[in-house]
Amino acid sequence: MSITYLDAIREAQAKALADDPRVFLYGQDIGNFGGAFKATKDLAKKFPGRVLDSPLSEDAIVGMAIGAAIEGARPIIEMQFADFSTCGLNQIVNQAATLFYRTGVPCPIVVRLPSGGTPGSGPFHSQSMEALYAHYPGLVVLTPATVEDAYSMLLGAVEIDDPVIFCEHKFLYNHLKAESLPAEAEPIGKARIARPGRDATIVTYSAMVHECIAAAEEVATDGFEIEVVDLRSVKPLDTDTILASVARTGRLLCVGEAFPWGGVCAEVIARVTAEGFGLLDAAPQRLNAKDTPVPYHPALWGTHRPTASSVASAARQLLEI
């Protein structure tokens, strides 16, 4: 059996629906059609009345999920693309994220965001929005990079009593395959050493994990072993695991597909330098997408976002310092 990242997301939702009667799904075209990416294929049939097509209304989708959560339900909602969540952002950051702090009533919703770039998707179907949501207090922001994590972290997300922004990467949907779904899982909030090394640490997440591993393999031909840390969760951020890796390697490169200003890479560097300044043998570096909208044409897109090759050259530069 071969299971894709997308299958994992569907299976996790199927299991959540089967295990917990409080779970229901709401979003555009997720019912009989099974969703724009087929992440909910057959679920409407298997769980009648619990997989509901919404109108084209992101604000209402999120708002309804929050109301349902207040009443004890555990909704999973799908934004058709992460980019459209800007239209539901107000409900996410001001209503879902503040509910527990203000009223003491938790808000267990999962907002699925099909995220990140794919060739030819352009400025409005490619965004990585984790930094916007992680900036706001009250949200948990997850960025699974593997089939196993897509499955177990989505299941975990449904169990969390707080609003979870679940950033799935569209580029991994069908590209990434595993043999089977995991029975056990690393806890949410813990980072993972995706590739051990000793000469430098690359901290990354989501689809960039694979670019970074490829880059590390490339740099290994020069005799350098790069450790790749997959954050898994960008809020909370597992500073301890990062620091432990930097303690081993002395060098840090952060790689993210999002826009460069602020965001995960800046946050990681701020934490490492505040808490682990003495561990660093060289200036910590970062590599992000360029500071423009995500371009439509694949030739431009390939340069806009970091790739194995641009990561490898950033890593080489870091190692030469």
């Binding site: 009667p21 409080r22 229901f24 009345g49 619990r50 509901l52 919404s54 109108p55 209304s57 992101e58 604000d59 209402a60 989708i61 999120v62 708002g63 309804m64 999920a65 929050i66 109301g67 349902a68 959560a69 207040i70 009443e71 004890g72 339900a73 909704p75 239209c87 107000n90 409900q91 001001n94 209503q95 994220a97 503040t98 509910l99 527990f100 702090y101 203000r102 009223t103 003491g104 009533v105 938790p106 207090p137 009250g138 949200l139 948990v140 969390i160 009593d161 707080d162 806890p187 949410i188 909030g189 809020k235 909370p236 951020l237 500073t239 934490r271 505040a274 808490e275």
Partner: protein, 340 residues
């Protein structure tokens, strides 16, 4: 006082029972809000004060027709509706005066209060945003097999211009949820008059575009409000889908207590919309012999005493202590993010 009571015939009393009950809640809200205004002028309130004077008849009609188990998401000017739904003088004062013992624990304040577990949702400021929340609450209730539940939420003329209003009401209509959206058209959104807010002849014209039932009434007339809101809530409860209520009235205070509302057209104050619903209701009570003017005065005295006593008590209560705060925004402490 008891002598005066004896003077009224029993039949009229029964007939007017709901009306009088509503009136007394309106009166409580009014008196409490007058106190809030005084405390605000005296510098005792933390933050702003936003009152519902002139809107009590509509607001109370919503709260009074809801039952335990229903959902209510009041908005800015719903002190009366809140009290009818179970909110107290004590918690209101605690929230405004910044007592640590209030339901919001100093984390939020004034009109931003509620007890979501009791179906009493706590508004956020972003107007329109409560509509999909109530719809979602109702959807969850339906999914777990409950019926006969109603969810009501209030909004102003200005709030109808928000995308959230549109999306929330439309989604509720598609699901045919028992949602009652109560629009208090008080002619202004802060300083903005209706003619800069919408171009339809009447806000009720919006109902058909959502495929929901519409109800219109004079918001200064308690009897009319009780009747129309009661009908709308019954219709929702019996499965007729979302109901839209539009009441015309005027806010008889500033947008907040900082605002002198000079922008209000003086002519409006002389029209029906400009009547004080509390005075109109009082007159109706006396006219119908449901109570005497003296009784009304006594009720006011009673509430004033309760409000004053409660305010004095609350002012001695402790403030929230920042050192006792856990400063954690989520309910899962293991997932708290730590900053150096």
């Amino acid at each position: 006082m008891s002598e005066v009571v004896k003077a009224r015939p029993k039949a009229a009393r029964d007939e007017g029972q709901e009306f009088v009950k509503a009136y007394r809640i309106m009166l409580s809200a009014r008196v409490l809000e007058e106190k809030l205004a005084a405390l605000y002028r005296g510098g005792k309130i933390k933050g702003g004060v936003f009152l519902g004077r002139g809107q009590e008849a509509l607001s109370v009609s919503v709260g009074i027709h809801l039952r335990k188990g229903d959902i209510f998401a009041p908005l800015i000017r719903d002190q009366a509706g809140r009290m009818a739904f179970g909110d107290t003088i004590l918690d209101t004062l605690r929230t405004y005066l910044g007592s640590a013992l209030g339901s919001m624990r100093g984390r939020d304040g004034n009109i931003h209060r509620g007890r979501p577990r009791e179906g009493y949702y706590a508004m956020i400021s972003h107007l329109g945003a409560m509509i999909p929340l109530v719809a979602g609450g109702l959807l969850a209730r339906r999914l777990r097999g409950e019926s006969g539940v109603v969810g009501a939420t209030c909004i102003g003329d200005g709030g109808t211009s928000t995308g959230a209003f549109h999306e929330g009401l439309n989604a509720a209509a598609v699901e045919k949820l028992p949602l009652v959206v109560v629009i208090a058209n008080n002619q202004y959104a802060y300083s903005t008059p209706n003619d800069r807010q919408f171009a339809c002849a009447d806000l009720l014209d919006k109902a058909i575009g959502y495929g929901v039932a519409g109800h219109k009434m004079d918001g200064t007339d308690l009897g009319a409000c009780l009747k129309a809101v009661g009908e709308a809530i019954s219709a929702a409860r019996s499965g007729a889908g979302p109901q839209m209520i539009v009441a015309d009235l005027l806010r008889l205070v500033g947008h907040g207590e900082h605002d002198d509302a000079k922008y209000v057209d003086a002519a409006l104050r002389k029209k029906t919309v400009g009547r004080d619903c509390l005075a109109v209701a009082a007159a109706a009570i006396v006219e119908n012999s449901w109570a005497t003017a003296e009784e009304l005065a006594a009720w006011r005295d009673e509430v004033e005493t309760e409000v004053d006593d409660t305010a004095n008590r609350v002012m001695r209560e402790p403030e929230p202590d920042p050192n006792e705060e856990d400063w954690c925004a989520i309910s899962t402490p293991e997932l708290e993010d730590h900053f150096a």
